[in-house]
């Protein structure tokens, strides 16, 4: 079985590479599961201004309620853990807000355990925490979730592999091309250097864009700690096709 030291050496081989948009290369061997789940043929470039992907799915107030953004209110009792909020603004690369679009999150509980049958990490489930939430961005592209801080957890990539604490985010833009699934991390996590999924983003400046900022202004006295995570979606859209292709 591969050791952490061997993974560290592999990570170093790819470190500091600058990639388009800072996105990970899909073939990143330190993350073992990427080896057989990444294409070998070049992608085919589409420039059709009528491509359906330049538009995208829409969601409305019937699809999401405000309560769906509070992960601490799903059960009869309060979940265990540090209560926190994560809020931010979703924009495109020109800084235009992505309005009334769906943001989905999911995460482990405070002990680092997911509500998932395949998850066998021997940490306790929390009967008062499921760990999934949804929100619609407002007219300024802003969202806000209330949750508890997730714990780090072990996984099977190599011996003694641990994921840094993170919240999974799924986002829609004004165009399907702008679709994004990512993970939000917490500042100062000592596990960053050991984690091949975080390190698959090889450019340090791009890594920084995956880390939320602690924002004391967003903490609520005697209630919750506030984190800020602004998200910039990549990809062209029909509404701004000319500008996007400059």
């Amino acid at each position: 079985m591969t050791t952490q030291r061997e993974i560290d050496e592999e990570i170093l081989k790819y470190a500091d590479r600058v990639t388009p948009g800072g996105h990970p290369e899909r073939h990143y061997p330190p993350y073992r599961s990427s080896i057989l789940r990444s294409p070998t043929q070049p992608l085919t470039v589409v420039t059709d201004p009528e491509a359906v992907e330049l538009w995208g799915p829409v969601f409305g107030t019937g699809d999401v309620t405000e309560l769906d953004a509070d992960l601490t209110l799903r059960h009869s009792g309060e979940p265990i853990g540090e209560r926190m909020t994560v809020s931010g603004r979703v924009t495109d690369r020109a800084g235009r807000p992505v309005r009334n679009q769906l943001v989905e999150i999911w995460q482990a509980n405070a002990a680092g355990r997911y509500v998932h049958r395949r998850e066998q990490h021997p940490a306790p489930l929390d009967p008062n925490f499921t760990g999934a939430g949804r929100a619609l961005t407002n007219d300024d592209g802003e969202y806000l979730f209330t949750t508890i801080k997730p714990g780090p957890y072990p996984w099977g990539n190599h011996v003694n592999a641990w994921r840094p604490a993170h919240i999974h985010f799924s986002l829609f833009g004004t165009a399907f091309t702008q679709r994004l699934v990512t993970q939000m991390y917490f500042p100062g996590d000592p596990l960053f250097v050991y984690d091949p999924i975080f390190q698959s983003v090889t450019d340090p400046a791009a890594q920084h864009r995956l880390i939320a900022a602690y924002d004391h202004e967003r903490s609520v006295s005697e209630f919750s700690l506030g984190y800020r995570f602004d998200i910039v979606l990549d990809g062209p859209s029909a509404t701004h096709f000319e500008e996007d292709h400059q």
Partner: protein
């Protein structure tokens, strides 16, 4: 006019544990209930060794039957009393579908045939192990090649064509469409870059 270019938020894998968060009731049932033109499209997602991938999730997006790209809300619909998701109302065509692969790596979508001026179903593929999603398109057989298909070599073009497989799905005629994330030039699905 120059436009400010912010650096995008990088992608990360969807991981293995999306199953209690992303799927929603009726996610595969894009066609209005009982619509006479409805079709089923189904297949497997395979890795580079030809093994089916049981932890992939696919988002689908297509134009309305008259070619509208505007979409419609109503894919998820929350029950305001229980907070549970209801799924679609069975009438509105939202253009959006979502299906996770089952334990055999199989998926099935029930929808309307794509519009004549947008003759494809767009697919966004997520999976454990896939660090950045992949876009592809499903074209039904017996439709003319559009600009994308015409620009591809014949073996590559064939990876984007569903085929009639003789079965009948929940929503009518069934078409088979497999997604091979990795393979040789005639096997690997054509994936798209909109940059």
């Amino acid at each position: 006019m120059s436009v400010e270019r912010l650096d995008p938020t990088p992608s990360q894998t969807v991981g293995p544990f999306f199953g209690y968060a992303m799927p929603f009731p009726g996610g595969p049932d894009v066609a209005p209930a009982g619509h006479p033109d409805a079709i089923s499209v189904h297949g497997y997602v395979y890795d580079g060794e030809g093994k089916p991938i049981p932890d992939a999730i696919l988002d689908f997006w297509q134009a309305g039957p008259e070619g509208s790209r505007a979409g419609s809300p109503g894919s998820l619909r929350v029950d305001t009393s229980s907070g549970e998701l209801l799924g679609r109302d069975g009438v509105r065509f939202t253009g959006f579908g979502r299906v996770s692969t089952d334990g055999d790596g199989h998926w099935a979508l029930h929808t309307l045939p794509p519009a004549a001026d947008a003759p494809y179903i767009s697919v966004c593929v997520f999976a454990r192990g896939l660090l950045h999603h992949l876009f592809t398109r499903i074209y039904l057989p017996d439709t003319p090649d559009d600009a994308l298909l015409s620009g591809l070599a014949a073996d590559r073009r064939a990876t984007l064509r569903a085929r009639k497989d003789g079965s009948v799905g929940a929503a009518g005629t069934a078409y088979r469409f497999d997604i091979r994330i990795q393979g040789d030039v005639s096997e690997e699905t054509v994936f798209l870059d909109f940059a």
